[in-house]
């Protein structure tokens, strides 16, 4: 049975490769040799490859332009996002804090000023100049341009409490002594109630 099937398989395989070029084949080959023609390029494949290459170029261009818009990791970003702080700044945070209460209160204004360049800070004062100044200050990051103007907020540091008068409490009266009657000895009571035989 297997032999019969194998014979059919071989027949079909032979059939798939049956055929030969026509009589003009040699003439065509020699004509191409005489004309100095080179091996044909596969133009049909080129029709497929060319659009794919164009699509790849467009994708690269889009990726590149998006990369330009994305802010670069800088001190600004690092300050705004504590998670991206450097190891040095993290070490700073671990240092013991001062006991001065004012030093513990963050000053938002001073923080923003620290983040921006002097040119940008000046622009904050004059909102009409802000976008241009921001671009001059940081031409790479357009995100800074989109940042809202800083709010001027008064410091919330509390003034120290003035030392007031001493709290003079009236002296309490001495309570009267409590007279308590001494308790009877319980052991003696038991002996009386349960006399031994």
């Amino acid at each position: 049975m297997n032999n019969d099937i194998d014979r059919v398989i071989d027949d079909v395989a032979r059939e798939l490769t049956a055929g030969e070029p026509d009589g003009a084949f040699k003439a065509r080959v020699l004509a191409r040799i005489e004309s100095g023609e080179s091996v044909r390029r596969n133009w049909r494949a080129a029709w497929i490859i060319a659009p794919l290459a164009a699509a790849a170029l467009i994708a690269i261009a889009i990726t590149w332009s998006h990369r330009d818009v994305r802010p670069k990791p800088s001190a600004e970003v690092g300050a705004l996002h504590p998670s991206s702080q450097t190891a040095a700044s993290r070490t700073e945070n671990l240092e013991p804090r001062t006991t001065n209460p004012e030093s513990r209160i963050p000053n938002p204004k001073s923080r923003i000023l620290r983040l921006r360049s002097p040119e940008l800070s000046r622009a904050m004062a004059d909102p009409s100049e802000a976008p241009q100044a921001r671009r001059r200050a940081n031409p790479v990051s357009d995100v800074a341009v989109l940042a809202p103007p800083s709010l001027t907020v008064d410091s919330i540091a509390l003034a120290p409490i003035a030392a007031g008068d001493s709290l003079q409490l009236p002296q309490l009266d001495t309570p009267a002594s409590l007279d308590i009657a001494p308790l009877e000895n319980p052991r003696t009571e038991n002996q009386n109630e349960n006399p031994e035989p």
Partner: protein, 196 residues
């Protein structure tokens, strides 16, 4: 001048010296083998014709690199096979690469099978179905197995030639042919065309 008794090596020498007729004789001698190798790889007569022409053109340009280590036929077939495989690898042929017979080819094959089969209509139909299933199974073999099977069955090449073309030892080629048959049988068994 008769070239019947002239060897391939002599014709190569003359072709190198600029004798186009000598190369024409080489084309005549080996065109069928080259064409069938291309047909085995590409499955299309038009593509095979183009690939065969390209192979001869390339061989003519590279005649100086033929050292005579192998026979001219083996050397030529290796070039032809590479040309055909390069064509097969192009994106467009991925979809219609292997032996996609056109409807008239299918009909022709069916008619041939009718002539070969038994006399009863049932036997004729069964035989035609079996051949169609075998053709499909061969199409769906992996390229390595299919190439080996088709080249081995084309009747044009010895295992040495096929090994040179596919860049594999003769033992490997024989195993691939056997494995291709086994896989086709397995497909036929699963589809119910042959008994368990």
């Amino acid at each position: 001048v008769s070239t019947v008794c002239v060897t391939d090596a002599d014709l190569v020498t003359r072709a190198r010296q600029g004798d186009p007729a000598a190369f024409g004789e080489l084309v005549d001698r080996h065109r069928t083998a080259v064409y069938r190798a291309a047909l085995a790889a590409l499955g299309s007569h038009a593509e095979a014709e183009d690939a065969a022409q390209d192979a001869f053109l390339l061989a003519y340009r590279r005649l100086d690199t033929f050292r005579g280590d192998a026979s001219f036929k083996t050397w030529l077939l290796t070039i032809a096979w590479h040309q055909a495989i390069n064509r097969r690898r192009s994106l467009r042929r991925v979809w219609r690469r292997m032996v996609e017979p056109r409807p008239d080819e299918e009909r022709e094959a069916a008619l041939e099978s009718v002539a070969d089969a038994g006399p009863t209509p049932e036997a004729v139909a069964a035989h035609a179905q079996l051949r169609s299933a075998v053709r499909n199974a061969i199409r769906h073999l992996s390229p390595a197995l299919r190439d080996a099977l088709l080249l081995a069955q084309s009747g044009e090449y010895g295992y040495d030639d096929i090994g040179a073309m596919l860049n594999a030892p003769v033992g490997t080629i024989k195993w691939r042919v056997s494995e291709a048959r086994r896989k086709v049988r397995e497909v036929l068994r699963k589809s119910g065309h042959i008994d368990e």
